[in-house]
Structures are given as structure tokens and as C-alpha cells.
């Protein structure tokens, strides 16, 4: 990448990610609306929402641990932005500077951890319940998620470097496909989409973890969710579907495809209970991934690519 292009990248990447995120959250709302026979919001609605929240007063509960309460969303935003910069860098320049898959897994967990910190600092019983649910949920889906990436690592011959992984397409095999499907469901949970919106559960906890957040801080949480809408599918594309090959449009197509898949799952399921979610991730997804790992190892050992 030439120097001016490089500079341009650094200038554009963060606002670009945010804009992409807002567009993605518009897609979520619009597609949901179409599924439900509604009209849906205009393209700029997510932006208006954020702008409006930014102008509102920030209320901090009296008994809240103020520093943590205020800092948590910023930590989450920093984490998810760093994560997406890494991914864009790999996608656009195809050279990974710091990015191996282990770092990505850690950065991906940061918004959830920030959410747990922030909501447990907010001194509200609803948020406390939401926190405990979010914690259980994180513990449920992290294990299968990591296992799914292990399948990828095996399939790509022990590669940890994301740029190198993006040169291959692990999903074109049985074990890779299994791992991809499980990872998709984990992403569903990470995004807090139905059926895994247990921590927010509007009709039970009145938005749970986010209950005490208002104004600009809430806007930051909304931004984090919007950016995650791009970053997490992009990560799946990079790891499982061979990145943005053969061209940009194919890459964007894969990205939107995953997004629409997530939205459809969101709109055709009721919310599950937290114990049901844990059972689902540990038991069913665990078994599926154990099988996938064994298949992948056998495939590698015998040189059968499609296993």
C-alpha cells in the first residue's frame, strides 16, 4: 500500500466503520420490518437516534460506581473499534500487522466484558440480573466459539495469522461448515439478538444491562452494537469464507448475506431462557464441534480436503 493510501486508510477507517455499522443496523431494522409486514425506518434513522441520544442528559444513579459506570462504554467502544481496524486492514491490504486469531478472540470479548462491568456498576436490581445473565451467556458461547476457531486453525494447517487464514476457505468442508454454523450462532448471542437477547430482555428486565444508561453513554452502547454488526460478520467472512476474495463485491455480498441470515434467525425465534441457552451452547454445540475437530484432524491426516 502506497504512503498516501496508507494515510487515507487511517483517516477513513474509524468513521467508515461507524458509518458501515449504522447502515448495518438500518438493514437489521428494515429487514425485520419487512419480515413483520411493517414499513421500517428511513436509512438515516440509526444516525438520528444516536444524534438525539448524544444531546440528552446523562443520568448516573446515585449509588452507582461512577468511574466504572462511565468508563465501561468507552472501553467497549475502544475494543470493538480496534478489532474492526484490524479486520479492515487485513481485508483491504491483505497484510496482517498485529493480527493473529488469538488477539482477535480477546478483542472480541472486550465489549461484553465492558457491558458486564458497566451494568454491575449501575446499582440496579434489573441490571444486576441482566449482568448475571450476560456473564452466563458469555461463558456459554465463548467455549464453542474458540472451538470453532480451532477447527479453522486445524483446517488451515496450524495458521494463526488472520491474513493467511483469509487466503483459504475452511467453510468448504464438512468440519468447517459445522464450525461456521456454530460460530454464526455464537455471533448471534454476542450481538444480543433474539433468541439470545436474554441479558436485555425488554419484557422481563426492561432492557436489563442497559437499564440505567442514558444520553451519550447509551449512544455509545448503541454505537458499539452498530459496529459489532459489521465487525463480527466481517470476522466470520475473514475466518471461514475466505475474506474479500475474489473481489470487493463478493466480499460485501458475503457480509450482507451473513447479516441477513442473522436477522432471519432473529425474527423467527422467541427468546430462550438462560439455562436453555447454556445447555444449547455447551451440550449441542460442544458435541457438534468435537465431531468437527475430529473430522478436521482426520481430514488433515489423510489429506482429504472436504472432511
Amino acid at each position: 500500500m502506497s504512503v498516501p493510501l496508507n494515510i487515507l486508510f487511517w483517516i477513513v477507517v474509524i468513521p467508515g466503520t461507524v458509518v458501515f455499522g449504522l447502515v448495518a443496523s438500518w438493514i437489521v431494522r428494515k429487514v425485520s420490518a419487512l419480515v413483520q409486514w411493517r414499513v421500517g425506518p428511513p436509512l438515516c434513522q440509526p444516525l438520528y437516534d444516536i444524534m438525539k441520544l448524544m444531546g440528552k442528559e446523562i443520568l448516573v444513579p446515585q449509588e452507582a460506581q461512577q468511574t466504572v459506570f462511565m468508563a465501561a462504554p468507552l472501553v467497549g467502544l475502544a475494543g470493538i473499534l480496534l478489532f474492526s481496524i484490524m479486520l479492515w486492514r487485513i481485508t483491504i491490504t491483505e497484510t496482517a500487522f498485529v493480527g493473529d486469531i488469538i488477539v482477535a478472540i480477546y478483542l472480541m470479548a472486550l465489549p461484553s466484558l465492558a457491558l458486564i462491568l458497566g451494568s454491575s456498576a449501575s446499582a440496579s436490581p434489573h441490571a444486576a440480573l441482566g449482568t448475571s445473565r450476560e456473564m452466563k451467556l458469555v461463558m456459554s458461547y465463548e467455549l464453542p466459539l474458540v472451538l470453532a476457531f480451532i477447527v479453522v486453525i486445524i483446517k488451515t494447517g496450524g495458521q494463526l495469522n488472520l491474513a493467511a487464514i483469509a487466503q483459504q476457505t475452511p467453510a468448504l468442508s464438512i468440519s468447517g461448515m459445522l464450525a461456521f454454523l456454530v460460530a454464526l450462532l455464537c455471533v448471534q448471542a454476542k450481538l444480543g439478538f433474539v433468541p439470545f437477547d436474554i441479558a436485555e430482555a425488554e419484557t422481563e428486565l426492561g432492557s436489563g444491562v442497559l437499564m440505567e444508561y442514558s444520553g451519550a453513554l447509551l449512544a455509545v452502547w448503541k454505537l458499539i452494537q452498530a459496529v459489532m454488526l459489521v465487525a463480527l460478520p466481517l470476522f466470520l467472512v475473514t475466518v471461514f469464507l475466505g475474506g474479500f476474495r475474489p473481489n470487493l463485491w463478493a466480499g460485501l455480498g458475503k457480509l450482507v448475506g451473513i447479516l441477513v441470515l442473522l436477522i432471519l434467525i432473529k425474527n423467527t425465534n422467541p427468546r430462550v431462557r438462560i439455562d436453555q441457552a447454556m445447555k444449547f451452547f455447551w451440550f449441542y454445540c460442544g458435541i457438534a464441534l468435537a465431531a468437527a475437530i475430529i473430522l478436521a484432524i482426520i481430514g488433515n491426516y489423510c489429506g482429504v480436503g472436504w472432511l
Partner: protein
């Protein structure tokens, strides 16, 4: 047990009664004095056994009356036990709540509004009056002053959100408490559930209602018999065909009026349309409560044509105002019949699809089966009605048990499920939609020509009960007339009033995630439940139109004075 055996059974307690009247085959009035009330009630509820409906407190001239209404569902017989409390200074009676938890709320209500003491009541907090309402002022007594004149002149507040009484507390306060309400995304109306939780498990529940009182029973005493039908259709927006019908049937029984046949058909069709749209509404809301917004939107879209039909027949999507004493106000035009049949065909197809989608969804099974179980015993003890009872294996339905309108002549089935969980209630409601469609088809095809109302001139003295199977359960109205043109007492019992207290039996020990859907599963209707507060809870509202007008004018004058300007006079214009 048939009607004759029931009559004989009732004679077993003859020595405790002072009078037995049977104005019709399935209407029995018993009378006794206050000291025998407990024994007679226990006999009626446990030994006969009858289903408790509600109690009515009346301020008669020389005594207080408490009327315990029971139903015998096998023959559709309504049995009313009149208890006279002669001591006007210290009216006291034994509480029946210890063996009949379904009577707990109504005794609290009667205590609030009439000041009758119930001995041995487990939890005598206020139910409908605000907590700072002065002691010893009972709004439904005949000598009570109007709501605008609060005796101590203090402004009143809304009910507090302290729901837990020390007597009821089963766990120390240190346990975390989750507040569902008074305003909560789960609820369309104001009510307050206080869940005591241990982790995700609910260990105790307490409820506070009465955020939304309108004093309809008191208003009803000041309106003419014809006007009351419009008033009670405003008890609840969704049951706005059932309430007036129950009231009208009570008055027709009192006056011995028989409406013409075509009116019965019209009533049946409108009530079944109401049931369909109410059940679909519930399916949608239940979907929303468990985070299934697609079902929410789809169900409500399917509901629209039903509302459109109702609008074409009565002129309104809700609050039809279509029944009157002696018949109906609006006829179903014969031109509309093919359209109704066509819409029913379309609706049946859509509901078929929706029902299959809901009943076959494995996630929904996991989410709803075995959740919030209300056992058959509890269902009887809490005297629940409607789909809540039928989902618990208590197959009662006023339409079959005590047929009114046309239901006796139609071919249909009572749907019931034995499990008692949320899923069973959902199944009952979904399948009932198909029964309703069946009934509407039959009624539309057979509707005869003729007048839709007879003229009713005088309402004689007497009393009558009317009950109707509303979408949520049995709606019960009791009307007493002294021969004037207004009811002297009009008691309304909406189904939610008995269904809501059953949460204590179905919610404790459940997950929080399950409690919310359990709360929603009885399809609670709080505006129904809270029809009775006679008092103005927030005293800045003054009921009197004149007073409001005066206030408004005073304020304008005040503002003018502050601004130093003269009012605009007619001459200036």
C-alpha cells in the same frame, strides 16, 4: 347432580337460613344472618361444591348486605347467598378467605368501600383506596360525599409502590426485589408486581393494583338503566361487547324481558367476533413477551379484518354500544352476510397457518411447556374462569353451562386442556378461535328476519344476575332496582379480578423469564379489574363538569390578572 338434587342438597343447611327463593329454575337466592355466614359459605363451597363467583357489598337502609354469588356449572345455576349485617355501627363478618383464597381481594375491596370488617382475613391491606385516604371514610356508603369533597381537604396521591405487607412477608427484606411495574414494557396498563428473587428464581410475589380507578359502579348508580349499557362498555376496550351484554341480561332477567330472536343472533355474532380479535391480540402479545416480535406483528395484522367487520356492523372498532335492554341498537345488514362469511374463510386459513407455526415450534415448546403451572385444585380455590380455568382442566364455559343469546342452539365444543401451563392456555385460545369462526358461520347462515328490539318501558323493583363468557373468562353483573329509573346497586366482576390473584399459585418457584409470560398468560386486563374505585385518586381531577369549567375560567382570569390585560370582549370582535 341435576338441578333437583342440588335443590335438595341446599336444604341440608335449611336451619341456618332465613329464606330460600327460586325465581327461576337456575336462579336461587338464599338468605342468612351474619353469624351463620361462615358456616353456610363453607358448606356451599366445600360440600356442595359450588364455584365462587364474587361477593357484592350493599349499603341497605337499615343494614349492610354482603351477597356471595356462587355458580353451579353443571346446570348453570347461579346461587346467591344474602348475608345481613344488622350492626350498622360496627359491621363485622367472618372472612371466608382462609378456605377460599379467591375471595381475598373482594373482601379487601368491600372493606375499602363499605367499611365492613372481615375477621380472620389473612391480609387486610387496602386494595383499591389510596394509602393516604383517611381512615373511616367509605365511598360506597349512601351517606358518602362526592369525590371532590375529601373530608380532610388534603390532596390525595397515587397508591404507593410498597406492596409487601409485614404479614405476608415470607422472606427477609435483604433478598433482592425485582419491580415489574407500575410502568413496565411487559404491561400495557399500570399495575405493580413485586417479585422477590433468589438468583433467577422467584420466591414471592405481591401485587398492587388500583392505579387506574374510574369508579364505574358508583357512576352506574347515578345513570339511567339505558345509559349504563354505554358506561359498562367502557369498563374495558376489548370486552366492550361482553360487559354490556352481561349487564343487559341482568336487567332483562330483572324485568322479565325477552329480546326478539334476531337480536340474539346479532349479539352472538358480535360477541364471537370480539372473542376472535381478543384471542388473536393475546397471541401477538404473548409472542412479544417472549421476544417473538414476528408473531406479534403477524397476529395483529390478522386481527385487523375482524375489527373492520365490527366497524362495519356497529360503527366502531371497539366500544360498540350495540346492546340495549330488550335487544340491539344496530342490525347486521343482510348485504353484509357474504362478506362476513368470506372474511371468516380467509381468517380460518391464516389462523390455521399461525396455529401450526406456533404449536409446532420446538423453541416455543421448550419455552412454554411446564411453565407457570396452575393446578386444577388451585384453579378451583382461586375461582379462576375462562381460558385460565380451561387451560387447567376446569372445563367451564358460561356459553355452554348457562346458555344465553344463541349459544344453546349452536354446534360447538368447549376447548380445555389438562396441563395448566402457559402452553395449554395458548392452545385453548388458539383453538377457541376456530370454534368462534364455526359459530359465526352457523349464526350468519341461519339469522332470521325480524325486529331487533322490543320496547321496554318500566324496570320493576327486583334483582337480576347476568353473566357472559368474555374472552378472558366469565363477566358477572348483578343489578338491583328499587323501581326507579336507576340501579340502586350494580356490581361488576370482570374475569381478571379472579384470574390475577392466581399468580400467587402459579408464579412462585419459577424463573423470572417464565414469570413474565405467566403473568401475561391469563391475559390480564387491569382496566377491567379496577373498575370500581369510587374515589378520585388524584384529587386535582374533579369529576364535576361544572367545577372543571369553573376552575378553567378561574385560571384564565388569574392569568389575565397577572398579565394585567383585560379579557377580550364580544364588542371588540
Amino acid at each position: 347432580m341435576n338441578q333437583e338434587e342440588l335443590n335438595n342438597k341446599l336444604l341440608e343447611i335449611k336451619d341456618k337460613l332465613t329464606a330460600v327463593e327460586q325465581p327461576a329454575d337456575n336462579r336461587i337466592y338464599l338468605a342468612c344472618e351474619a353469624e351463620n355466614a361462615y358456616a353456610v359459605n363453607k358448606f356451599l363451597f366445600e360440600d356442595v361444591p359450588l364455584r365462587f363467583v364474587i361477593a357484592t357489598g350493599i349499603d341497605s337502609d337499615d343494614c349492610f348486605e354482603v351477597l356471595y354469588h356462587y355458580a353451579y356449572d353443571e346446570t348453570g345455576c347461579m346461587i346467591t347467598l344474602k348475608v345481613f349485617i344488622r350492626d350498622r355501627e360496627n359491621p363485622t363478618i367472618e372472612s371466608i378467605a382462609p378456605f377460599l383464597p379467591g375471595a381475598e381481594w373482594i373482601e379487601r375491596e368491600i372493606h375499602d368501600i363499605l367499611g365492613i370488617e372481615f375477621k380472620n382475613h389473612p391480609d387486610m391491606r387496602r386494595l383499591i383506596l389510596a394509602d393516604d385516604w383517611p381512615e373511616g371514610v367509605y365511598p360506597l356508603r349512601k351517606d358518602a360525599k362526592g369525590p371532590a369533597e375529601r373530608p380532610d381537604g388534603e390532596p390525595s396521591t397515587r397508591p404507593t409502590i410498597q406492596t409487601q405487607s409485614p404479614a405476608r412477608r415470607t422472606v427477609p427484606l435483604a433478598k433482592p426485589v425485582i419491580a415489574v411495574g407500575p410502568f413496565h414494557p411487559l404491561q400495557e396498563e399500570m399495575e405493580f408486581f413485586q417479585l422477590t428473587v433468589d438468583g433467577e428464581i422467584v420466591t414471592d410475589i405481591d401485587m398492587r393494583i388500583s392505579y387506574n380507578h374510574r369508579g364505574i359502579e358508583k357512576i352506574s348508580e347515578s345513570l339511567q338503566f339505558d345509559q349504563v349499557a354505554f358506561l359498562v362498555s367502557r369498563v374495558c376496550g376489548i370486552c366492550s361487547a361482553s360487559h354490556p351484554l352481561a349487564y343487559v341480561q341482568a336487567v332483562e332477567e330483572l324485568a322479565g324481558v325477552k329480546p326478539p330472536e334476531r337480536a340474539l343472533y346479532v349479539r352472538t355474532i358480535i360477541n364471537e367476533l370480539e372473542r376472535i380479535h381478543s384471542h388473536i391480540l393475546w397471541v401477538g402479545l404473548a409472542g412479544h413477551f417472549i421476544g417473538y416480535d414476528t408473531v406479534f406483528m403477524w397476529a395483529w395484522k390478522y386481527r385487523e379484518p375482524v375489527l373492520d367487520l365490527l366497524e362495519e356492523i356497529t360503527g366502531n372498532r371497539n366500544n360498540y354500544g350495540n346492546v340495549k335492554v330488550g335487544g340491539c341498537r344496530e342490525d347486521i345488514p343482510n348485504e353484509l352476510k357474504p362478506k362476513i362469511l368470506k372474511e371468516m374463510d380467509k381468517l380460518e386459513k391464516k389462523m390455521d397457518m399461525l396455529t401450526k407455526a406456533v404449536l409446532d415450534d420446538p423453541v416455543l415448546h421448550a419455552r412454554l411447556k411446564g411453565v407457570g403451572v396452575l393446578s386444577k385444585e388451585d384453579a378451583i380455590k382461586y375461582a379462576v374462569t375462562g381460558p385460565t380455568a380451561r387451560g387447567s382442566g376446569v372445563a367451564i364455559d358460561v356459553r355452554r353451562d348457562d346458555p344465553y343469546a344463541l349459544y344453546g342452539d349452536l354446534d360447538w365444543n368447549v376447548i380445555s386442556q389438562p396441563q395448566g401451563d402457559v402452553f395449554a392456555k395458548a392452545v385453548v385460545r388458539l383453538l377457541e378461535v376456530f370454534e368462534s369462526i364455526k359459530m359465526i358461520r352457523q349464526a350468519v347462515k341461519r339469522i332470521p328476519d325480524g325486529p331487533i328490539a322490543v320496547e321496554v318501558k318500566e324496570i320493576p323493583p327486583g334483582e337480576g344476575v347476568g353473566h357472559v363468557e368474555a374472552p378472558r373468562g366469565e363477566t358477572f353483573h348483578y343489578v338491583r332496582s328499587d323501581g326507579g329509573n336507576r340501579p340502586v346497586r350494580h356490581k361488576i366482576r370482570a374475569p381478571s379480578f379472579v384470574n390475577v390473584p392466581s399468580f400467587r399459585a402459579s408464579c412462585i418457584g419459577e424463573h423470572i423469564a417464565d414469570v413474565t409470560i405467566t403473568l401475561a398468560a391469563v391475559d390480564p386486563c387491569y382496566s377491567c379489574t379496577e373498575r370500581l374505585a369510587v374515589v378520585d385518586q388524584h384529587s386535582n381531577v374533579i369529576h364535576d363538569y361544572e367545577a372543571l369549567l369553573r376552575l378553567s375560567r378561574d385560571k384564565t382570569a388569574q392569568i389575565r390578572k397577572e398579565l394585567g390585560t383585560q379579557g377580550i370582549k364580544m364588542e371588540d370582535l
